[in-house]
């Protein structure tokens, strides 16, 4: 179902709960023409941002903006279940026009205390053509190396990704995405994944559709690999709600999740809660400690079926 590239501190809704900009809306009409539908990866993003991120142990993040192009952040994570690490994160923006845009052209690198590297390069080659390169290593071994090219037309987006091309082992994963704005609220598209290894090869086709209105967004991905449906609803300025359904034919299981986000700007607080069909209940509270440029994060996740509890504390400075 596509490759998920998770940067530890990617700019986005999770780190900037009090962004003064209004949430991006696909439903704005510009000059009576259909808008560009965005990239395939961001179809389910508005729903996923409502859910709390699993937090464990104590994490301290120190963000330092050295100039309008250069940002540095240090992360120290002390954990009870996984080994503790220190991570160094660097961002160099190509231009300072986009301050909080998630797809701003940038060079992003992340290095772990165990030697794992995570490098992203997003380039805007043209007004319409974007390229992205991702390298991920686990200590000294390369885990992911992929190259993506995206073309943004007036009312469509097409992208081709080559993931883990390995000439000696003759294996490669090719992914092609296509999204087309059909009407002012409706976006239809598909994803074709072709993977080839030494012993086998195959292709998976997934169709995607998204319907948006000013207050809610409904998205559906359906294919031979499974289905993924999500519904995002903005009840009022403070409450956002998301429901997600995932079914996978490979692991033969389905999951339904319900999450909500409550913002209290007067109290400088954001609370995200979620409940799962796997009997997982979680909540994360983020509080901005004015006048200090610090944010305190407290969260707990309970897995009732496995009787496990995970508690996390974090502080973001800067």
């Amino acid at each position: 179902m596509g490759s998920v590239l998770a940067l530890s501190s990617s700019p986005g809704h999770q780190n900037w709960p009090f962004s003064p900009d209004p949430p991006p809306s696909h439903w704005d009409r510009r000059d009576g023409r259909l808008p560009n539908p965005g990239s395939f990866h961001s179809l389910h993003r508005s729903c996923k941002d409502v859910f709390p991120q699993q937090i464990e142990g104590v994490k301290m993040i120190l963000n330092k903006t050295l100039s309008s192009f250069f940002k540095v952040s240090h992360t120290l994570h002390l954990s009870a279940v996984s080994p503790s690490y220190y991570r160094f994160h660097v961002e160099h923006l190509q231009s300072d026009d986009y301050s909080k845009d998630k797809d701003a052209p940038a060079l992003i690198g992340e290095m772990d205390s165990s030697g794992s590297l995570n490098a992203h390069a997003l380039l805007h080659l043209n007004e319409r053509v974007r390229a992205r390169t991702v390298f991920q290593t686990q200590q000294s071994q390369f885990v992911t190396w992929q190259f993506e090219t995206e073309y943004r037309g007036n009312d469509f987006t097409a992208a081709v990704t080559v993931a883990n091309p390995d000439v000696p082992r003759e294996s490669v994963i090719l992914v092609a995405h296509f999204l087309q704005s059909v009407s002012s609220g409706l976006v239809l598209g598909g994803e074709l994944v072709y993977h080839r290894g030494r012993a086998e090869e195959g292709g998976i086709l997934t169709l995607a559709g998204q319907y948006s209105r000013p207050n809610w967004v409904a998205t559906l991905n359906a294919g031979k690999g499974g289905a993924h449906a999500s519904y995002y609803h903005r009840a009022n300025k403070q409450i956002q709600v998301g429901v997600e359904f995932e079914a996978s034919t490979r692991t033969q299981e389905t999951t339904t999740s319900f999450g909500y986000q409550m913002e209290l700007p007067e109290a400088n607080m954001v609370f995200r809660g979620m409940i799962n069909s796997r009997c997982i209940i979680g909540g994360v509270l983020e509080k901005r400690l004015t006048p200090l440029p610090a944010t305190l994060i407290m969260g707990a996740f309970v897995n009732h079926r496995g009787d496990k509890l995970q508690v996390g504390l974090g502080i973001n400075v800067g």
């Binding site: 142990g57 104590v58 002390l78 954990s79 009870a80 503790s84 407290m298 707990a300 309970v302 496990k308 509890l309 995970q310 508690v311 996390g312 504390l313």
Partner: protein
């Protein structure tokens, strides 16, 4: 070499007239007997005036016994009043208390503590602990304070009870029988089995305190533990005392004795406890209104190891903040942050402990309501 140490103690004890029936001549020759004697030295009865909701019994402040009396102001005040009168030295258990209170308490998981006062005499509390390592528990506790008034904030009898979701019970009854005589009954069960039942009587004189405790007396089996404490004020600043533990089981019996001394200065308290079970020295220093520091040394002959801990407490009443930190010779670093979230009657506690030697990390937070 054991006998040599015992003769030295004998000379020291004669100075302050300790009961001459002390079995100092009791032969502790065989190593196995030494081991069993030390293993059987029972832990002291749970202190009735501890602050937050610990795992044992707790009595909320104001409902229990008064704190250690010899502090800087009061000691000097007494001296000015009447040179011949020495203050009461407090109880033997509370010698090391001031220093121990500076150290942070280890906590993990999520804890919710709700305290509700139903009337002037009755208080109820609920504790919900979701634990990352062990089992999650719910605990219900009740405190009843009687009508007999002995001091400005002391009422007797005091009954404190605590029951767990697995059925474990902790119960304590404290009563002032006569002027200067206080008695306590304590019971502890693990699910349905009684693990601890004890009775003690405390005699508070003008300048001395004597306590007798009978622990786990079992007439059918013929076993029991008797603990005697004695603490005497020598000067307004110096208090000396001793503890004698006699335990008996069918087939073996033994005693453990330890001596204690405490010196209170203008803004510090130094305490030393020495015995055949080991040594415990603590130093408490109040640097200023906000900072208190404590250093502790514990040596145990049974476990053959020593540990030194350094702890400090930072009080910032303007920010409603209380921070406690500690560093240990076992490479354990820990800290607790407590913040009152006014105007709500809510208090938030964050706690983390890191054991560098074993590379273990523990963090937890709790909310106290009421």
């Amino acid at each position: 070499h054991v006998k040599i140490i015992y003769t030295l103690r004998l000379s020291v004890s004669c100075v302050f007239n300790v009961d001459s029936q002390l079995t100092l001549s009791h032969p502790l020759t065989s190593p196995s007997r030494m081991g069993s004697v030390l293993a059987a030295s029972s832990p002291n009865p749970p202190p009735p005036t501890s602050g937050g909701a610990a795992s044992g019994l707790t009595v909320p402040p104001g409902f229990g016994m008064p704190p250690v009396i010899p502090s800087s102001g009061e000691a000097s005040g007494q001296e000015q009043e009447d040179d011949s009168r020495l203050p009461n030295p407090g109880t033997f258990d509370e010698c090391h208390r001031k220093c121990k209170e500076v150290f942070p308490m280890q906590m993990e998981g999520v804890r919710l503590f709700v305290n509700k006062g139903l009337s002037n005499h009755f208080q109820v509390n609920h504790t919900l602990l979701l634990s990352t390592t062990g089992d999650s528990t719910y605990r219900f506790g009740a405190t009843y304070v009687g009508t007999k008034q002995m001091g400005p904030a002391e009422f007797f009898p005091v009954m404190v009870g605590d029951i767990d979701n697995s059925g474990s019970l902790n119960a304590q009854i404290i009563h002032q029988i006569a002027n200067g005589v206080r008695s306590k009954l304590a019971f502890q069960t693990q699910q349905q089995k009684f693990v601890n039942w004890q009775c003690d009587a405390e005699f508070k004189g003008e300048d001395y305190t004597a306590t007798v405790t009978i622990g786990n007396p079992d007439v059918l089996v013929g076993s029991g533990i008797v603990v005697t404490h004695y603490l005497q004020s020598i000067t307004p600043a110096l208090a000396l005392g001793g503890e004698l533990v006699y335990h008996s089981r069918p087939g073996e019996e033994g005693t453990v004795m330890s001596l204690a001394g405490r010196y209170t200065g203008s803004n510090y308290i130094a305490t030393l406890t020495l015995g055949s079970a080991g040594a415990h020295a603590s130093y408490y220093h109040k640097a200023n209104e906000q900072l208190q520091v404590g250093v502790e040394l514990e040596a145990s002959t049974r476990m053959q190891d020593t540990s030194v801990s350094f702890g400090y407490q930072l009080d910032v009443p303007k920010a409603n903040l209380l921070f406690k930190g500690s560093v240990d010779s076992n490479w354990v670093v820990g800290a607790t942050l407590e913040k009152k979230l006014l105007p709500l009657p809510l208090s938030l506690v964050l706690c983390t402990f890191l054991n560098h030697q074993k590379n273990k990390f523990q963090c937890g937070f709790g909310v106290t309501i009421g």
